[in-house]
């Protein structure tokens, strides 16, 4: 590889790997949402990226509000913004399911088109309200700066923060899915919708809440995203393809798979980006993923049981 020595390459890989951690966080949050929606209802939500954007703008709005009305509390705006981003995205997702998606469950292609259209509409609404140019809020001071890991290696606080949020949300989702009543409803409905209904579960309500939760997670991804980059109307749409890749590679049925897959894809892109262009890095990742899917169509991780 060019004129680099082995130790230089190792340092570069470490640097890029650390830079890829925030990407990992965003991928993970996005993929979690997309995967639980896909796993539950077989719906691919093409507007999923716009829920990230929605969360980003919500965070921006909260930051601006704090700046003008409570400047003394500015450093605490982030927790509020995360909760609010989640709630806004959850609410819009809930309405989207109720108003549109639930009527199309038996028509996957129509769902794809309809949610894609909703995504475009949302982008236009963002553009009308916030303009086409990027907006960004100052990060609170505790998110600025970085931690020095070694002479050459720095880990920015915001990247660390994004990754922590993503992992915390993954743990919460795992607890919800495997320990809470909601998760039992989701898992039984996913497995056998008719039977779940016939044992007494309101599967339509489970669908609605699951869809909304998936959107809410994308909202949190949006909140995290503001610490990485400025928010534009198409900010989320750029992540849609990557998010699909993560879900497909990880296998929609497995949380662990989603984590591993988000990590690998984020790292691969970030590290490759140093040596080749960003778009070439994407192409290469895509090709590797396609190769893996051809060998393991069910994704890297699956549950094994009889029946």
């Amino acid at each position: 590889m060019g004129g680099y020595t082995t130790s230089e390459i190792a340092t570069i890989m470490a640097m890029q790997g650390i830079a890829g951690l925030s990407l990992f966080g965003v991928f993970l949050l996005m993929a979690l949402g997309l995967a639980i929606i896909f796993g539950q209802m077989g719906v691919i939500n093409m507007a999923h990226g716009e829920f990230l954007t929605l969360g980003s703008y919500a965070t921006y709005v909260v930051a601006t509000m704090f700046e003008s009305y409570a400047p003394g509390l500015f450093s605490y705006y982030f927790p509020v913004a995360i909760v609010l981003s989640f709630l806004v995205a959850f609410g819009v997702g809930y309405l989207l399911e109720y108003g549109l998606v639930r009527h199309l469950y038996k028509r996957p292609l129509d769902t794809l088109l309809a949610t894609w259209a909703v995504g475009l509409i949302m982008q236009q609404i963002f553009r009308s309200i916030f303009g086409g140019r990027g907006v960004s809020a100052d990060a609170p001071d505790w998110l600025q700066g970085s931690i020095q890991l070694s002479q050459m290696l720095f880990l920015s606080r915001s990247d660390l923060f994004v990754m922590c949020i993503a992992i915390a949300m993954t743990v919460i989702v795992a607890i919800l899915l495997y320990r809470a009543r909601w998760g039992m409803r989701v898992r039984s409905t996913t497995q056998n919708r008719a039977m779940a209904n016939a044992v007494g579960i309101n599967t339509a309500k489970v669908d609605r809440n699951t869809f909304a939760l998936g959107c809410g997670l994308a909202g949190i991804a949006g909140s995290a995203f503001t610490t990485i980059s400025a928010t534009t109307p198409t900010a989320g749409a750029q992540y849609l393809v990557d998010t699909f890749l993560v879900v497909v590679l990880g296998g929609a049925a497995s949380l662990l798979g989603t984590v591993a897959s988000a990590f690998s894809i984020a790292q691969a892109q970030s590290i490759l980006e140093f040596f080749i262009t960003g778009s070439m890095a994407k192409v290469l990742t895509l090709m590797v993923v396609i190769g893996i899917i051809m060998l393991r169509p069910q994704g890297l991780f699956t549950l094994k049981v009889r029946q």
Binding site: R181, S188, R306
Partner: protein, 229 residues
């Protein structure tokens, strides 16, 4: 308890079940006997709401169920054990039973369930998909009972279960009636099982109820023309 009037059901354009009338008394165990393909499963699916009925109506304790979605019917006191059991394979035994609690909103699994099916208590942390067929059948019944139903629907409970265990199943059904004081409607092809448990039997032939017998009238001789192939 359960009252069905002039119920007709079909798939697409072809009618499969014709003008069913039946009434299930409180605490009664009623069997629907019929050979393969006579429409038993179709009838049971329509009762729980998994298939729309073409005409006629279904009532539970005077409450109209026709057109209601399945989970609403479960909340009204109907519980369903499908043919082929259909337990949730990746859920544990205990979780499977808990899905039945959704209908009542209860938090605790009723005490009598594990005393009726001790084997399920032993296996409560196992995945349901790893249970034997007979154990899965018990689990499917336990899951239905968790909803505290007034009427239990069992579609061919003995299918794929070995004769010695069929005896136990009959005993369990009588025990369930005794403990819970509920009514049971089941479909069946195995005559000995029906003779063992039912107070009364209806005979289904090509989608119609064609005969009715009290439990004691049931014998190889009286059923010969309906069940022999």
């Amino acid at each position: 308890m359960l009252k069905v009037n002039d119920l007709s059901i079909g798939y697409g354009l072809s009618q499969v079940v014709h003008d069913i009338n039946l009434e299930l008394g409180k605490g009664e165990i009623l069997g629907v006997m019929g050979r393969n393909g006579m429409g038993k499963t179709t009838l049971f699916k329509a009762l729980i709401g998994l298939l729309p009925s073409w005409s006629g109506d279904i009532q539970m304790g005077g409450v109209e169920l026709t057109g209601e979605r399945p989970y609403r019917r479960v909340a009204s006191g109907l519980a369903y054990v499908p043919q082929g059991r259909q337990v949730f394979a990746t859920l544990t035994v205990e979780e499977n039973i808990r899905t039945g609690l959704e209908a009542t909103g209860q938090k605790k699994i009723p005490d009598d369930i594990y005393s009726l099916f001790p084997v399920l208590q032993e296996m409560r942390k196992r995945r349901a998909g790893n249970l034997s067929g007979g154990q899965q059948q018990q689990l499917a019944i336990a899951r239905a009972l968790a909803a505290e139903p007034d009427v239990l629907l069992l579609d061919e409970p003995t299918e794929g279960i070995q004769p010695s265990i069929i005896k136990d199943m009959a005993k369990t059904l009588r025990e369930i009636r005794q403990v819970r004081n509920i009514s049971i409607l089941f479909s069946e092809q195995v005559l000995s099982f029906a003779m063992d448990v039912s107070d009364r039997v209806l005979v289904m032939d090509r989608g119609k109820l064609v005969d009715e017998m009290q439990g004691e009238e049931l014998s190889e001789a009286t059923m010969a023309k309906y069940l022999s192939v």
